[in-house]
Subunit: 206 residues, 2 copies
């Protein structure tokens, strides 16, 4: 693997573990056993690394959301794949508010990403309705509500659940996934409905 | 008003406006036209002010949630009153993750507050069911889901909505309120149901 890519992998690991504030480029270089000079050859500063990681996260997400990829899988598989990316870049979802506040470029990227996600969600839902996986939502306000709730829950719940648990982490992500499935349950149809109900039945009470 | 209380009022205003990170005790003293020494006579540091503000927010919230106060008003009024406190201390909801990470004492206070809110919600819901304002939720998992969704949405949505709007603020709070009402709508009953539907009908599309 190229050093430039390895820097990103090590950074995301350290950011997830220790939080972005606590990690400097020196920590990243040290963890990789390279000199700070070598790191600066690839990235000017921490902000550039964060920006690059954000682009990477977006790219991985859009890949899952491509119409071709969507049509090949069930809604529940689709949710799982999204949460894998979510988990991989969890520091963004924990710290986005502070990061956006500090870096206007990232704030703009985030806003664009959210706008794109709202559009992708409309396409996705239309496809799911056409495939009989979901029922049509006729009221536009309700549709917007469902989309916003899904996106808000998916992007902020980790902060909430982690604040109330002894051990933050995978369990919080599982709870977030459960909330998304429950939110979509009233709109699911046919096999999707069965899958959702099975998922919620198998869910461990916490 | 006592200086000690005025420090809290000015602090919350500055924290809401500029974010906690950007505001030092010197800024607070300057905005009040007092000396830093005078401020330190009342509070040792910013963390102590933040802790005191958190206790104040909890106290104001618990007052709204007291069974006697609840029984005197409709669910929609109750939601409005909660959102007034929410708006007043909005910096907490924007920055809680970073603040908790930095201050273990505040993290513990937040966790206790969330646990208390979950208990208060159970009492509230029981009262609403008894008063015919809400229908009973028989499935325990569903009940927990509704409570968690309400609390997660109420404590984290501001971060989400503000990130997607040009002008963050009151509009975001209105949208949060709308989400809460929509979430509760399927469980509402009688006059509450009418109130909820009227509220959602009058809602301006965004």
């Amino acid at each position: 693997m190229k050093t430039k890519d390895r820097i990103l992998d090590v950074s995301v690991e350290l950011f997830n573990k220790n939080g972005v504030v606590a990690i400097t480029t020196n920590h990243i270089a040290k963890a990789m056993n390279i000199s700070p000079g070598n790191l600066y050859f690839h990235y000017d500063n921490k902000e550039e690394i964060i920006g690059e990681l954000f682009r990477r996260m977006c790219k991985e997400t859009y890949k899952i959301w491509s119409p071709k990829h969507i049509s090949s899988m069930s809604p529940i598989q689709f949710i799982e794949e999204n949460f894998d990316v979510y988990w991989k870049y969890r520091f963004f979802h924990r710290e986005m508010y502070a990061l956006r506040r500090k870096d206007p470029v990232l704030a703009k990227m985030w806003k664009n990403h959210m706008e794109k996600m709202m559009k992708l969600m409309k396409v996705l839902y239309r496809n799911w309705v056409a495939d009989g996986k979901m029922v049509q939502i006729k009221n536009d306000k309700e549709l917007l509500y469902v989309f916003e709730s899904l996106l808000a829950m998916a992007t902020t719940f980790l902060q909430f659940f982690e604040s109330t648990e002894k051990l933050a982490g995978k369990l919080s992500v599982h709870r977030g996934r459960t909330h998304l499935v429950r939110l979509l349950l009233p709109y699911s149809s046919g096999k999707s409905k069965d899958d959702f109900e099975k998922f919620l039945d198998s869910e461990v009470s916490i």
